[in-house]
């Protein structure tokens, strides 16, 4: 850089944008940038100043070329960098020394001036804030005036207080302007009074008023007048008000006298008009008509119903596939569920009630003489607490009227009618279940009860929705009881009825169901407990057939396989068909030894008409007729036909049906005429098996999606830059990383400083100690020196004296 110092300075200022044309177009952009960095200006200037002040900087020139390590970097000695760092170090050293000196001078000293200025010791406040705060404090202190101090006569009084002045008899207590001047003199009242008491104030010559006093007077006067005017106005208003009030009274009096004359005794209105008026009046009390819900068309109703069915169907399918939404209902849905539940409950109850009433009405109409009875029962019904009680209650009622009786109980004990009814109804639901089972016990069974039981079960189904929990718990209790019976190998028709009810009431196609699954286990336990041998009882055969029937019902929808039912049906067939030992393909059977059983049918049987349905009470027949057994056989054959619907979906169909085929082929020889569907079934079996065998392909269960092997190839950065610290795309994370790095750095440097400081302090202390010892030794040495010099001098003196005396002698 050439040129004089001045030129250089100018150039420097220009390059930093501090001088030059203010509105040159060329610099417009950069100018704006500088404007933004207006705060930097100071810094820049000080930099420039430093640059030009060469005498402040110290440089160490070295003759040899070597490098040193400074701050973890190789630094060439004598370079600017080196010099800078040395300088900064020496500056720091100086600072430390100063601080140390200050500390040392304060060491061991107590007391001193405490800086009480506001915010002086608060480090969180900036300088400006401190100032601001101090200023406000100061103002506050000033504005706190003592209103009761009579002597206060600030100029600001009038402006601040809007003329608020302490008065006495309308006169201001404040000393008048007139007395202002001698105010100073009147500090000591008592003494002054004595001095001035003789001459009254009025007597003093009127002093000329200042302008301020005149203005004040004028203002006071105008205020006073204004006040007066206002008072007058107020008074006028009050008077008007009084007049108004009186006017009403007067008018009333006037009216009453005027009305007396035209009033008549009777209204002139015609009866029609009166009636009309009444109608109108009535209409006002009528509720505003609201647009009614549109009457739905048949199609719409149908559609709604279909939608609902569809919804239920999907719910069922979900449950069947084990996609449980119960889990969702557990946690946060608590209150939703809660409110929904109660609302729904209320709604359904209302509906229910209406239905019940409807039914009731229709029943009353049906039984023409029934109204009297209905009234009677209304008074009679009471809630039974145990099944025994209920049984005794219902024993006196005719069979066909029992459902109505139960309806009545349900109606009377609706949960909304009284507290505690809900629990009672829950209990009643359980009692109803018990009663149905009770009716099926052989000792209580009546053939005429068939319809009744059907109806009762339907009632139970209706109740099951509302009183689900008690019913479920009661059923679970029953399951345990049945389990015990199964262990004892007892076969009861009520158990069969129980299984039927569970399937009828609950959704039996579910993947898992609290009631259905244990019931399934029970049924299969029963089935697997029945052993095939020559002594197989009729009861066992009967139970097997019926349970297989129920199991079919349970699994039709979900298409599940029940191995025990397969085995059971085979056992039943083998124990019923005539001459089982002559079955051609013995090896296909899954029973090792085929024997004639006590239930084996004869070779030929009379083709008897089917009597329709089989009663469950046949179970208890001690000596079952051929007809009974034959009917069971027929049932079994048709059952196999029905089961085929499930089996044909499976791949193992040939394995499943092979045994049945063998047995049925054998049976058809004897009963082709008696059992019409037998040849048909065989044909179907044949066909299905053939198809299945043809279509069947080997399993490919392990077709899994190939899983990628985890790779650990290095990731390359496209635009790698050694200076760039982070390639993180996530901005937030990047910021956090930056912050962390900064924090770490700061921490490190602070630690470094602290260490440096402590090292410095230690060094200083050692130095001080050394100094102290040195001065001590010096001092001691000088003392010893001086003593020895004196001593030496004395000695010399002594020697001299001695010499002298000797010589004298």
């Amino acid at each position: 850089m050439a040129g004089s110092q001045l030129k250089q300075l100018k150039a420097a200022l220009k390059t930093n944008g501090l001088t030059g044309q203010a509105n040159s177009k060329k610099n417009k952009k950069s100018r704006t940038a500088t404007e933004i960095r207006r705060d930097d200006r100071e810094e820049i200037i000080s930099n420039i100043r430093q640059q030009f002040n060469k005498f402040d900087t110290k440089t160490n020139r070295t003759k040899k070329d070597y490098t040193v390590i400074q701050g973890g970097k190789f630094v060439k000695a004598g370079t600017a960098q080196h010099n800078n760092s040395t300088r900064s170090r020496s500056v720091m050293e100086e600072n430390l020394k100063l601080q140390y000196g200050a500390n040392k001078s304060r060491h061991g000293k107590t007391g001193g001036v405490v800086d009480r200025r506001f915010g002086e010791s608060n480090k969180n406040m900036t300088n400006e804030e401190k100032m601001l705060e101090r200023f406000t404090k100061e103002r506050e202190r000033q504005s706190k005036k003592n209103v009761f101090s009579l002597g206060s006569d600030d100029e600001g009084d009038d402006e601040d207080d809007d003329g608020f002045v302490l008065t006495h008899y309308g006169k201001s207590l404040a000393l008048d302007e007139a007395e202002d001047d001698n105010d100073e003199r009147k500090r000591g009242w008592g003494i002054d009074e004595e001095d001035q008491g003789l001459m009254p104030i009025e007597d003093q010559p009127q002093r000329k008023k200042t302008k301020a006093e005149v203005m004040k007077e004028i203002i006071a006067k105008s205020k006073f007048h204004k006040n007066q005017r206002q008072q007058e106005h107020q008074k006028a208003l009050d008077d008007i008000m009084d007049l108004d009030e009186d006017f009403e009274d007067i008018m009333q009096d006037l009216n009453s006298t005027a009305a007396k004359i035209p009033k008549k005794q009777f209204s002139e209105k015609k009866p029609e008009e009166i009636e009309y008026d009444n109608k109108v009046r009535e209409l006002t009390y009528d509720r505003r008509s609201v647009p009614a819900d549109r009457t739905k068309t048949a199609e719409e109703i149908q559609k709604e119903h279909d939608d609902r069915m569809k919804q239920l169907e999907t719910a069922r399918l979900n449950r069947m596939n084990g996609i449980a939404d119960d889990r969702d209902k557990e946690g946060d849905d608590l209150d939703d569920d809660f409110w929904n539940g109660s609302e729904e409950g209320g709604d359904s109850e209302d509906e229910e009630e209406e239905e019940v009433e409807d039914e009731d009405a229709s029943e009353d109409e049906d039984g023409s003489n029934g109204s009297g009875r209905a009234k009677k029962t209304r008074t009679v019904v009471s809630m039974p607490s145990t099944h025994a009680e209920f049984a005794s209650m219902i024993a006196g009622i005719e069979t066909d009227k029992q459902p109505a009786f139960i309806d009545k109980i349900i109606q009377v004990y609706q949960p909304r009618l009284a507290a505690g009814n809900k629990e009672k109804m829950g209990q009643f639901t359980c009692i109803l279940l018990d009663h149905i089972l009770y009716l099926n016990e052989p000792e209580h069974y009546l053939a005429s009860n068939n319809d009744l039981i059907n109806k009762l079960i339907q009632k139970l189904k209706e109740l099951s929705e509302k009183y689900n929990e008690p019913l479920v718990e009661s059923i679970r209790g029953t399951i345990l009881k049945i389990q015990e019976r199964i262990m004892e190998q007892k076969y009861e028709s009520m158990d069969l009825v129980f299984y039927t009810i569970v399937g009828y009431v609950f959704s039996s196609s579910d993947h898992y169901h609290l009631v259905v699954t244990p019931t399934l286990i029970l049924m299969n336990e029963t089935l697997s407990g029945i052993q095939y041998n020559s002594g197989i009882q009729f009861q066992q055969v009967f139970t097997t057939v019926f349970i297989s029937e129920i199991l079919l019902k349970y699994t039709t929808f979900s298409k599940r396989i029940v191995p025990e039912a397969l085995q059971g049906l085979e056992k039943v067939l083998l124990s019923l068909v005539p001459e089982p030992t002559k079955i051609a393909e013995q090896n296909k059977l899954n029973i090792i030894e085929v024997v004639e059983t006590v239930n084996t049918l004869p070779k030929s049987i009379k083709a008897s008409k089917s009597t329709g349905s089989i009663s469950l009470q046949t179970l208890y027949k001690v000596k079952p007729t051929l007809q009974d057994k034959f009917e069971l056989l027929q049932k079994t054959v048709s059952l196999i036909g029905n089961y085929l619907e499930i089996w044909k979906e499976t791949n193992a169909l040939p394995e499943i049906v092979s045994a049945f085929k063998a047995i049925l082929k054998h049976t058809v020889k004897y009963y082709s005429a008696q059992i019409k569907q037998l040849p048909e079934l065989l044909n179907k079996l044949d066909k299905l098996e053939r198809f299945a065998l043809n279509d069947r392909k080997p399993l490919t269960l392990q077709h899994h999606k190939a899983l990628a092997i985890a790779t650990f190839a290095p990731k390359f950065e496209e635009n790698f830059n050694p200076d760039k610290k982070s390639y993180d795309v996530n901005r937030e994370r990047q910021e956090i990383g930056k912050m962390k790095a900064q924090l770490k750095k700061e921490k490190k440097s602070t630690l470094k400083d602290l260490r440096k400081e402590s090292r410095f302090v230690a060094r200083e202390q050692i130095k001080e100690k050394k100094d102290m010892y040195e001065t001590y030794h010096k001092k001691m040495a000088s003392i010893v020196n001086s003593i020895s010099t004196i001593e030496g001098a004395e000695k010399n003196q002594y020697e001299k004296e001695k010499q002298q005396r000797k010589s004298k002698r």
Binding site: M309, A315, E330, Y445, N449, N454, I457, Q458, K461, E465, R476, Q483, T500, I501, G503, V505, F506, S507, H511, Y512, H513, L514, T517, I521, N524, E525, S528, F546, L551, Y554, T555, R560, I561, V562, P563, E564, L566, Q567, N587, N590, I591, G612, I614, Q617, S638, T650, A652, P654, E655, I656, L693, N694, D695, R696, K697, P698, L699, T700, Q702, H704
Partner: protein, 572 residues
């Protein structure tokens, strides 16, 4: 003791008078005082003839008791037995029951006579013990047993003057009687549950090793003799044969109760040292300390018992149940059981016996190098439809798991087992299915060459569209040789079908075959012991949560014959 005796001597004379009165009454019952006085007479005055009187009394008391339960008579007989025992005890102490050379002729005669009475006393006791006349269980019999055992002790101590002695004959008679104790009906598993045996077992047999040793030692001769008897009397009449059969199964039942239910056989040297012996605190005859002698005796006894011609099937089952644990380790030559086991294994009319024999056979194969030809063929033939319904299925599967664990087995063979089991599971009980599924999983995991049975991505797939060549199942269910069933080329459709099992957990379990085989093995022990009861138990603990799903479909009727009915063709 002495004081008591003196007291009883006082009124001796008057009691004798009373005794005659009792005789005149027709019933020969002595009162307690009389018995005491007679006993003291015997002890003090050496009037040994009175022993006869006491023995007669004891005999007659038995006939009274066998008719009716009588507390008083029972008490009396208890006292009587005790008194007689005391007398003999005294006699032993006086050395009057052991013939010595130093005795003169007269004394020898007395000893002989007394010994005779002693024998008859033992006979009476045994008679009491083995009688089945009592219609009720009396504690007097147990007392008799205690007395008899004390007699054994007495003999052992007093006879072992010069060398160790064990009263073999006395013990033998007791055992013979015990084994023949009639205890009909037997339990379901063919063992007896007689209370005398029970007492003997818990109080003596399972505690004292010498009793155990001599039990087998004595029995080996006994059974031999019996066999000879059986051979001799082959031409007995039918009735007698029937009776004999009955006794034989009784003997077996009793033997089983005695010998095989005691917790541990004590025959090792350590055992002998640590546990007491009953008869004498001193040492026993040297033969008792040889464990080989015990083993031989044990072997002989067991062989004899097993070869009894008329043991019932359930008795076979119960002995097979414990054979490998309780018997084989104690035998001198377990190889001799081979024929018996092979026969059991080959039984075809009962499915359980071969399964039970499998354990012991395995034991023999493992320890004694037994070779069983076509073992796997036989094992394969055990896979019958009833296997999954038997009680011992877990036992079978434990062993089967072991037998099929070798990786050197032909995959044809393993595949046959897998396929057969899958076939069976199609008709099995839930608990059976629970076993089969993890079992097959483990087999497939261990023999990956069999994985084709569940995964065969065939070339057919590609070609089928054009050639239409359909796949035929190669498995032959009737083939008995597991190497030739062709199962390896078949597929396990049965398992696929089980994925829709009615029980949710089983269905889920079956789905493991459609998932990657990540699990190493299933621990079979977790699956072996499920039953319907345990399945139901796990249901018990479930809590009611939310509405139990209801059937939304509506029917007019539940049971009926026409119209919209839930189940038609039935009525209540």
């Amino acid at each position: 003791m002495a004081g008591a005796k003196r007291k009883s001597t006082k009124g001796a004379a008057s009691q004798v008078a009373k005794k005659t009165k009792g005789v005149s009454g027709g019933i020969t019952t002595l009162s307690d005082e009389e018995i005491n006085s007679i006993a003291s007479q015997i002890n003090e005055q050496r009037s040994y003839n009175s022993i006869v009187q006491l023995l007669d009394e004891l005999k007659s008391l038995k006939s009274i008791l066998s008719k009716k339960e009588n507390d008083k008579v029972e008490g009396t007989s208890r006292l009587l037995t005790l008194t007689i025992f005391k007398c003999f005890n005294k006699l032993y102490e006086d050395n009057l029951l052991v013939a010595k050379k130093s005795y003169d002729e007269k004394k020898t005669l007395v000893v002989k006579w007394l010994l005779d009475k002693y024998e008859s006393f033992k006979a009476i006791l045994l008679d009491w013990l083995s009688t089945a006349d009592f219609s009720y269980e009396t504690s007097i019999q147990l007392d008799m047993l205690d007395i008899y055992m004390s007699l054994i002790k007495l003999e052992a101590t007093h006879m072992s003057s010069d060398q160790a002695y064990f009263p073999t004959q006395t013990y033998k008679k007791l055992i013979q009687n015990l084994l023949k104790v009639n205890t009909f009906p037997l339990e379901i598993d063919g063992t007896s549950s007689n209370f005398i045996l029970e007492e003997f077992n818990t109080k003596y047999f399972s505690k004292y090793w010498d009793l155990q040793f001599y039990f087998y030692y004595v029995l080996q001769e006994e059974e031999e003799q019996q066999q000879q008897d059986a051979e001799e009397g082959e031409e007995e009449r039918d009735v007698e044969v029937e009776q004999k059969k009955g006794t034989q199964s009784t003997v077996f039942g009793n033997f089983y109760r005695l010998a095989l239910t005691c917790p541990k056989l004590l025959f090792d040297i350590e055992d002998q040292k640590s546990s007491p012996n009953w008869s004498t605190p001193n040492s026993l005859p040297s033969i008792a300390y040889k464990s080989s002698a015990f083993k031989t005796a044990f072997q002989k006894t067991i062989m004899n018992i097993l070869s009894l011609p008329s043991i019932q099937t359930n008795q076979y089952k119960s002995i097979l149940l414990v054979l490998h644990k309780r018997i084989i380790p104690y035998m001198a030559q377990p190889q001799n059981l081979m024929d018996f086991l092979t026969d059991c294994y080959n039984i075809t009319d009962d499915e359980v016996v071969p399964i039970l024999a499998l354990n012991s056979l395995y034991e023999l194969m493992k320890r004694y190098n037994l070779e069983y030809p076509e073992f796997y063929t036989k094992l394969y033939s055990l896979l019958t439809p009833n296997l999954l319904y038997t009680r011992y299925r877990s036992r079978f599967f434990r062993l089967c798991d072991l037998f099929l664990s070798s990786t050197h087995l032909s995959s044809n063979l393993v595949a046959s087992f897998i396929k057969k089991l899958a076939r069976l599971s199609l008709r099995a009980s839930a608990s059976g299915v629970v076993i089969v599924i993890p079992f097959i999983y483990n087999l497939l995991k261990r023999h990956p060459s069999c994985m084709v049975m569940i995964h065969r991505p065939s070339e057919l797939d590609a070609a089928s569209s054009s050639s239409k060549k359909s796949y035929t199942d190669t498995f032959n269910n009737d083939e008995t040789d597991p190497l030739r069933t062709g199962a390896i080329d078949s597929s396990l459709w049965e398992l696929e079908t089980l994925m829709s099992h009615y029980h949710p957990n089983i269905a889920t379990l079956a789905k493991i075959f459609a998932e990657p085989f990540r699990k190493l093995t299933y621990n079979m022990e977790d699956f072996l012991d499920w039953s319907y009861i345990t399945l139901l138990d796990s249901e018990k603990t479930r809590r009611y949560r939310g509405l139990a799903a209801l059937e939304y479909q509506q029917w007019d009727k539940v049971l009926g014959d026409e119209g919209n009915t839930y189940i038609s063709g039935w009525k209540f």
